[in-house]
Amino acid sequence: MAAAVRRVVRASRAWSAALRAREAPGAQTLRLIYTTTTVQKRNVAALGPEKYTEAFIKNQIEEFNLGKRHLANMMGEDPETFTQEDIDKAIAYLFPSGLFEKRARPIMKEIYGKLLDIQKYQDHLRAQGLLAENRKKINLIGSRWLIKEELEDMLVEKLSDHDYSTCIQLLERLVTLPCCGIEEEYVLKFRRELAIQLKKMVIEPLQYDEQGVAFSTGEGKRKTSRATAVVYDHGSGKITVNGVDYLCYFPVMQDREQLMFPFQFLDRLGIHDMVCTVSGGGRSSQAGAIRLASARALCSFISENEVEFMRQAGLLTPDPRIKERKKPGQEGARRKFTWKKR
């Protein structure tokens, strides 16, 4: 609404949106481990002086006209015949202290009002001595706060990042109060359901070969290694890697432990046979790739609960860690050149 007035709107640089699609668990977990210094601040000097291009001016005029129509709608006047004096009168009516009075800025009065209501209710209960029994908390598990885009859609106005984070902070504060249950439906308007992670996984059905033995294939990767594993039923725990026995291919105990891990976790060590092919990477990453492939193949043999247990043990996530790139001006990814005083 304020943008509709003759004010030059600065295009605010959007922050890195990598955090948008996140899910917030219940209000208990507020663990800030590190505050990054790589925040994209608005480098005003780098932008250069404000450039009044044709497109920019046209944009501003369009926004102004749109805002004028909104204002006319609000005042109940006809948008077509809304003159400049009408605009001035409307602004004087809506903002008695003027547009730029700092103390008259709207600061999420609705949410703050709810917070004050809850506090008043709590004080009321405390005065009667009934606070301990009447605690009503909102269940926040299974939902996340709205992201900035969703909140902008809901309020039909543009928000800055600071406004958004203040709004979420206020909502979090509201949720920590013991009697917040009375405003539950209002708070739930700002939450979205989270999908259950297990449903996102696709489990292949079992296949049967000529002898009638059930088998299943899985693919896995780790760093630059790629592996495919075929797990057969009714076996004796034999594992063949690239045509070679696993004892010869992986002389190191740690790699063999990794191969055994999914089977040992499900207590199916001597039941299955495995034939796998792997290429790329070193010995540890090849072992990790085969582990992922065999875990995925095993999903077809077991129940859904066990798949969920495997997922929670970290067996079904592909490890996203890769070799970090070397940066210019440094010797390696992290190592800097030797510092010389002169």
Binding site: R20, V39, F261
Partner: protein, 240 residues
């Protein structure tokens, strides 16, 4: 409205760049982590899954619901669900490792445990019936007990105040205690070892001594305690 929104969410969710936002509720911020902020740590213990639904407390139920909704990180390559994988031993192996040579470090540690077992068994067979009960033969138990005996209770921090550096005594966190115990053990074995003795021999010797609350590592722990006691006067310089 729903389709473009879902598309936008998916596009934003696909970005792997490090987060640029300072704070948001309920999320652990980590710099340069390839995992997103909502990934939880994996739990490898098999027994956790065996418990039936009724035995779980309220907190565990909420934890379970939380886990069902969040993605989980991949387990590290030195962790398995077998009874033989021990987090303390893994940490010790990593601290022993030089230049990424995990194979060598792990072989030293296994030989150490074997050495401990052999020495204890020798003592066991030579001892009389009454003494046999008191001799501990499990190398893992000896290892854990020895490390516990080496852990200092209070530590020293260097605080600069008014141009002078004071040694201020302060209680230590658990992680720091464990780290110091392992570090002292390893440095002691590396420095005060005859160049003809093997590392695993020296280590097993030191571990058995530490198990009996004697030896140079225990002495170092006591020295640290004495220093802390001597610098008691500066304890009020601590602000944390």
């Amino acid at each position: 409205m729903a389709a473009p929104m879902a598309g936008r969410l998916a596009a934003l969710g696909r970005r792997l760049a490090a987060p640029a936002r300072a704070w948001l509720p309920g999320l652990t911020q980590v710099r340069w982590s390839r995992y997103g902020p909502s990934y939880l740590e994996p739990v490898v213990n098999k027994e956790v899954n065996r418990k039936p639904l009724e035995e779980l407390s309220e907190e565990e139920k909420t934890q379970q619901e939380l886990k069902a909704l969040h993605p989980i990180k991949a387990t590290a390559s030195n962790v398995t669900s077998s009874v033989f994988s021990d987090p303390t031993i893994s940490k010790f192996t990593n601290m022993m490792m030089k230049g990424g040579n995990k194979v060598l470090a792990r072989s030293i540690v296994t030989q150490t445990l074997e050495g401990i077992k052999r020495k204890q068994l020798e003592k066991y067979y030579q001892a009389s019936e009454e003494e046999r009960e008191s001799i501990e033969c499990n190398p893992y138990i000896i290892f854990h007990q020895a490390l516990k005996n080496c852990q200092p209770v209070i530590g020293i921090y260097n605080i600069q105040k008014g141009g002078k550096t004071y040694q201020v005594p302060s209680p230590l966190k658990d992680n720091r205690k464990r780290f110091l115990a392992m570090k002292w053990l390893i440095t002691e074995c590396r420095e005060h070892k005859h160049h003809r003795t093997f590392m695993h021999e020296k280590l097993s010797q030191e571990l058995l001594q530490a198990f009996n609350n004697e030896g140079p590592v225990i002495k170092r722990k006591h020295d640290m305690h004495k220093m802390a006691e001597a610098n008691r006067a500066y304890a009020h310089y601590r602000w944390w």
